[in-house]
């Protein structure tokens, strides 16, 4: 099959899934609990995929993703609550501001490598959180009241757009440059790739979609508080990417779905949930550091003998 045909095939399958779920929601076959679960899954998929671009494709170890989630959440909430803008516009503004925050954080800190970058991103995320904590305009520690606006339609199209853009970015020339940076930064530099430029682009794009997820997140919950965007949220997102396999888009999506469902069932036992999470993290790292999918994509299993795309470099 030609590449464009495969693309349209997947797009049509996705739209059919959307239509079925939307029909089930409107005809009351799915109650509030399950439609809410679906929206949460969608938000977590966007977060996982956006961090996948930064860690899995570009190899830049960022553990401050919750900071950009917070920027998107607060900015879009300000747009709808204080300025009465329509929700899609607010989502877009939140994402753009998050991308700008990504640029501000990324340009200085992406000069760092490995552990130092990780700690710097963690520090920036905490600074962002403390800024919101001390801003009375957004309610400070008490939080901000928000009308619920996120529906399955918004959540689905958020995921749809995110996955299409990130998958196509990965396949493009720019995406290959990012993969080259991940594999060997010095070699990529020697081949004439502007490594700093691609690291910053990937980081800003990742932040953009984290901001989009933030907008959906804040309008799904009635209230947002700075404490929702601490270390733990960043680690949650990190776990999706690591468990799915660093470099695998579908792995990140599968892990996000799996862990969201598991943690939904364990909401009444938060300690048990965190113990299971951390044990999974340790055991996966010790015995299968490549994660669920490695760098393979799920589609690789369907088209046997074909060269795979994206983050996959093993079997060329």
């Amino acid at each position: 099959m030609k590449k464009s045909k495969v693309f349209w095939l997947y797009a049509i399958i996705a739209l059919i899934v959307y239509a079925i779920v939307q029909f089930m929601i409107t005809s009351d076959q799915l109650d509030m609990y399950y439609s809410n679960l679906l929206i949460t899954i969608a938000i977590n998929i966007i977060l996982a995929v956006s961090l996948h671009l930064v860690i899995g494709i570009t190899g830049q170890f960022s553990i401050g993703h919750a900071g950009f989630l917070a920027v998107g959440a607060y900015i879009s909430a300000i747009c709808t609550m204080h300025f009465d803008l329509p929700f899609p516009v607010a989502l877009f503004i939140g994402a753009v501001v998050a991308a700008l925050a990504g640029l501000v954080v990324g340009i200085p800190s992406l000069r760092l490598k490995g552990d130092y970058l990780a700690i710097a991103t963690l520090g920036f995320a905490e600074i962002i959180r403390i800024i919101f904590l001390n801003t009375d305009y957004v309610g400070g520690a008490a939080g901000m009241q928000i009308t619920q606006m996120t529906t399955w339609t918004y959540a689905f199209f958020g995921v749809f757009i995110t996955v299409i853009i990130i998958a196509n970015f990965t396949k493009s020339r720019h995406g290959r440059a990012c993969i080259a940076v991940r594999e060997d930064e010095i070699a990529a530099d020697a081949m004439g790739i502007n490594t700093t430029y691609y690291k910053v682009v990937a980081f800003a794009l990742g932040s953009f979609f984290a901001g989009l997820a933030g907008g959906l997140f804040s309008h799904n919950f009635y209230i947002i508080q700075p404490s929702q965007f601490g270390f733990l949220k960043s680690f949650d997102i990190l776990i999706y990417v690591v468990l799915g396999g660093l470099g695998s888009l579908s792995g990140a999506i599968i892990a996000a779905i799996l862990l969201t469902v598991v943690s939904m069932y364990l909401t009444e036992f938060p300690e048990t949930r965190m113990i299971i999470y951390s044990l999974v993290l340790i055991i996966v790292m010790l015995y299968r550091p490549s994660g669920l999918m490695g760098t393979k994509e799920i589609t690789d299993y369907f088209k046997l003998g074909k060269r795979s795309k994206g983050g996959n470099l093993d079997d060329q």
């Binding site: 490995g114 700690i119 710097a120 520090g123 001390n134 010095i186 680690f235 113990i275 010790l286």
Partner: protein
């Protein structure tokens, strides 16, 4: 004269950061791993001290010693179980494992004893005395002298004993050290033991000074101690001490100026500035990137 008082508070707080930072810096120096679980070893130390003092009626020094011994064993266990197999793994795998171990310790403690905080009993005298017009508590002097003596003992171990020599050799070059007949595994375990013992001591001191402990208390001091270690130049022992002190004093000044809610941000702003302008830290030497 409030400034002198704030300075003393800052130095007391800084000495706690410095004690934790020493463990980070020693472990990082030897196996290049940010041991995220270090802050939780500090928390375990605080709880052991608490149970020793209020449960068994021990005094401050026996409790301190007990916490140090238990934390040393605990640190070695963490290293042997979780980190040892990761010697040749990627940095990302090691860092994620460390995050996992940290979460596991925190939530196991919450699971077994609940998340409620505990009030530390008074073990040191509450008397204060006048110094240059500032009220200085005997407690902070005591804390400072305990921390300083621990640091002096550490310097002695690192520079004058055989195990210290082995530690310096391993942190310089693991392969060469192994060729010279040094047992690298034991040396790394010894490093974890010493670093964790210092964190345990810091936990007891923190409990006595701030009187409130809870299972998640290790997170923020842990991260800040890491900032202190980076500030002084990670892997350099005097750097961690200086970095801890500087961080403590800066935080006290920020609080004294009336921005106490921004106190936590100050540490991260320092971290980012130091990472951008002088990533090797105050005491660090510049290293060239090699292909």
């Amino acid at each position: 004269m409030e400034w002198v008082q704030q300075l003393v508070n800052g130095i007391s707080l800084g000495s706690i950061y410095a004690l934790i930072a020493l463990g980070y810096t020693m472990v990082y120096g030897i196996i290049k791993l940010i041991n995220f679980a270090h802050g939780d070893v500090f928390m375990i130390g605080a709880f052991i001290g608490f149970y020793a003092i209020s449960g068994w009626g021990l005094g401050f020094f026996p409790a301190l010693l007990l916490a140090m011994v238990v934390c040393a064993i605990f640190g070695v266990l963490i290293e042997r179980i979780a980190y040892k197999r990761l010697r040749n793994a990627t940095r990302i795998a090691a860092l994620i494992t460390a995050i996992g171990v940290s979460l596991l310790i925190e939530y196991s403690v919450i699971y077994f004893r609940g998340a409620q905080p505990e009030a530390y009993p008074d073990v040191l005298s509450k008397s204060t005395f006048n110094f240059l017009g500032a009220q200085i508590s005997a407690q902070s002097i005591m804390i400072l002298s305990v921390s300083l003596s621990l640091m002096i003992i550490l310097q002695f171990i690192v520079h004058k004993t055989k195990i210290g020599k082995a530690m310096r050799a391993v942190s310089h070059d693991v392969e060469a050290a192994r060729l010279m007949g040094i047992n690298v595994d034991n040396t790394i375990s010894a490093t974890f033991a010493i670093g964790s013992a210092l964190a345990g001591a810091a936990g007891v001191i923190f409990g006595v000074y701030y009187t409130k402990i809870d299972p998640l208390m290790g997170v923020i001091p842990g991260v800040k101690a890491f900032v202190a270690a980076v500030l002084g130049g990670i892997g350099i022992i005097p750097g961690a001490m200086a970095g801890g002190m500087v961080l403590g004093v800066v935080e006290s000044i920020v609080s004294a100026l009336g921005f106490s809610l921004w106190r936590d941000a100050a540490a991260f702003v320092i971290l980012i500035l130091i990472l951008i302008f002088r990533p090797s830290g105050i005491f660090g030497k510049n290293t060239r990137e090699k292909v």
